[in-house]
């Protein structure tokens, strides 16, 4: 084995390291909003938790059990200030829809993945807006459009981040 790859493959990795990295990355993504000292007047940051969750799912289709959206979504709700339960529902519906889609289309390329992520982000953001709206808070639907636009634009970067984490976590 050349020296170049000696440090990259066959490394010792614990099960916690392998299984825990995706989970911790999603939790950190969800916790960005309450950690940053920004007092936003409109939805400003993209939903990093959901984007990392989706990126892992598209990168490694088997990585999340179908119910993974329930605990991870609950954590995201606690952190994001959404009414509790909204991300639990939306993330699980996204996972179920992706599962159905996987049974239809076995092969996916880059643009197909991005398109799927676009639909999932649009669904999640508008669903989250609806929940907030039903609770009598927030603003008009138009205000989530910029947030949606740069979430979609940033998504390939998040996929690259998850790919780098994937190389780091696997032995």
């Amino acid at each position: 084995m050349s020296r170049r790859y000696a440090t990259r493959i066959g490394r010792p990795r614990t099960a916690l390291h392998i299984r825990g990295t995706p989970i911790v990355s999603v939790l950190l993504g969800s916790a960005i909003a309450p950690l940053l000292p920004i007092i936003a007047q409109t939805p400003l940051l993209p939903p990093f938790g959901l984007m990392i969750f989706l990126a892992w799912r598209l990168l490694r289709p088997e990585i999340w059990p179908l119910w993974a959206g329930v605990p991870l979504g609950l954590f995201d709700d606690v952190m994001s200030g959404q009414p509790i339960g909204s991300a639990m529902v939306l993330w699980t519906v996204i996972l179920l829809a992706l599962d159905l889609e996987n049974q239809r289309h076995f092969w996916r390329d880059y643009w197909h993945s991005w398109f799927i992520a676009t639909l999932a982000l649009a669904f999640a953001l508008s669903g989250a807006w609806l929940v907030v709206h039903l609770a009598g808070q927030g603003g008009p639907l138009v205000q989530i459009l910029p947030q949606l636009a740069y979430s979609i634009g940033l998504f390939p970067l998040i996929v690259r981040l998850c790919a780098a984490l994937d190389r780091w976590r696997l032995p």
Partner: protein, 299 residues
């Protein structure tokens, strides 16, 4: 890339059951989530234990980062002030001259005001400050416009208390944890504040638009009485908010409503104070009782 598929278990009975169970757990989880959504829509203050646990964990990082960011944010202002020092000095001198005369006038007016209030037997109610704190973070990914305070019920902050900055009204507390509280900002659609125009006391209602501005509708007038530049303050009608807290300045008109910009920008304010809810009925009763007591003592 052809993904391997655990989701096609073939003849393996155990894998089939496992797959079925994961569907059941996912769907039950989603239904439980729907139920929780319904509960949190009906009762927005619910699950406060869960939320405040999350808030307490993130509080130290957010408040330390805030101090750092404010330090960096003020740096460019300091540099700009140094460069502009000469011209700024002259301008400030002129301003001080005019302000001095105004201060003297204001002093005279204040004395007269106090004298008139004594005549009317109006006692100055206490300012009702419950706690003072900083806004440390907000729901910047969510559609709801909430900000987080670094004081909670340990410092006397209760849900429903109004929050203001020296510049003006910020919002009201909707949840409070041990050392953190969530504030529904003035710009949120869920925040409705009774206001009046400062120049002629025309009453109105301010409600958030969710985009950093508020809309102000006049009560019981056919035409839109507002003009750009009008300042509105809380009227104190209906309680909760104390009267005469600055709210917003009108920027433009849209048919029967005025679009106004809040005077306190939550992302710029340094310190906010949490006030006890204003209860005009009780305040009136108290002042009446005091007036009676002093009336009984006097003769």
């Amino acid at each position: 890339m052809a993904p391997p598929s655990k989701r096609r278990p073939g003849y393996d009975r155990k894998a089939q059951y496992g797959l079925f169970a994961s569907y059941v757990i996912a769907i039950v989880g989603a239904l439980v989530g729907l139920l929780l959504v319904a509960i949190s829509i009906v009762d927005p203050t619910g699950f406060s234990a869960l939320r405040s646990a999350g808030a307490e964990i993130t509080r130290p990082v957010a408040s330390n980062l805030r101090a750092l960011v404010i330090g960096i944010g003020n740096f460019d202002e300091a540099v700009a002030a140094y460069i502009n020092a000469g011209s700024q000095n002259a301008a400030l001198r002129r301003q001080v001259e005019t302000n001095r005369t105004r201060l003297i006038e204001a002093d005279a007016i204040r004395q007269e005001n106090a004298r008139l209030k004594r005549l009317l037997r109006l006692t100055e109610t206490e300012t009702g400050i419950a706690a003072a704190g900083h806004l440390i973070s907000s729901t910047s990914t969510s559609a709801a416009r909430l900000a987080r305070l670094d004081v909670g019920y340990a410092q006397g902050v209760q849900p429903g208390m109004p929050v203001r900055a020296p510049e003006g009204l910020v919002g009201r507390v909707i949840r409070s944890g041990p050392n953190t509280a969530d504030v529904l900002l003035l710009v949120d659609e869920g925040n409705v504040v009774p206001v009046r125009r400062t120049s002629d006391n025309i009453p109105g209602i301010s409600s958030g638009r969710g985009d950093g501005t508020v809309e102000i509708r006049a009560l019981n007038t056919e035409r839109n009485p507002f003009r750009p530049g009008d300042v509105v303050v809380t009227s104190g009608i209906g309680g909760l908010y104390r009267p005469n807290i600055p709210v917003a300045v009108v920027a433009r008109l849209e048919r029967d409503k005025a679009i106004a910009i809040p005077l306190a920008n939550p992302s710029r304010v340094e310190l906010v104070v949490v006030q006890t809810p204003f209860r005009p009925v009780e305040a009136a009763r108290e002042s009446a009782a005091q007036a009676q007591a002093s009336g009984a003592e006097a003769p």
